[in-house]
């Protein structure tokens, strides 16, 4: 088992953990954290899978580099939306989820 494959499998588990977190956790900041974990998992799969038989592949490296910057942009926008929601309504959860907590 090459180290590329190890990280690809870890990436799968992170992806699933993040996806489950986004569905199950009501607090919106947790959803943003879970979204970032999910993204990191996808990046690990992308690079790890390309390098499972050793050797370096620059194409996924470049794509992940782009992905990291896009992820931080999405996170900042999501945090701004969360702050706006909190400032206007005092809530940190979506309306239909705060009902049954």
């Amino acid at each position: 088992m090459s180290s590329g494959l190890v990280y690809a499998v870890v990436g799968v588990l992170l992806f699933v953990l993040g996806a489950a977190g986004m569905l199950l956790l009501p607090h919106l900041l947790r959803k943003i954290l879970a979204f970032n974990l999910l993204g990191s998992g996808a990046f690990l799969i992308l690079v790890g899978l390309a390098q499972r038989d050793g050797g370096v592949d620059p194409v996924p490296h470049a794509m992940v580099l782009t992905g990291i910057v896009v992820a931080v942009a999405a996170t900042a926008l999501a945090l701004a939306l969360l702050r706006r929601l909190h400032a206007l309504s005092g809530r940190t959860q979506l309306a239909d989820e705060s009902a049954d907590e």
Binding site: S3, L17, L33, H61, V72, T75, G90
Partner: protein, 86 residues
Amino acid sequence: MMSLTFDLLLGVALLWSAWHTLATADLIRAVVSFIVFGLLMVLAWARLDAPDIALAEAAIGAGLTGALLLDSVGHLRARRRPGDNG
């Protein structure tokens, strides 16, 4: 063999910090766990021979994202109304 052991340990540490990020009750602790996760990701990129990604992850993934999240938690705390335990 040694390096595979290291990879497996790092993988477990990544999953553990990710789990902690989602499962811990306190938001500040969750964000700190996420920053730890980002720093562990830097190690993973170094192990995958990706120094470019390691640099970007350290500066943007762990640094900037962590700063944004910490600032937001502080903001939500400061303006939280009494009785709200989100």
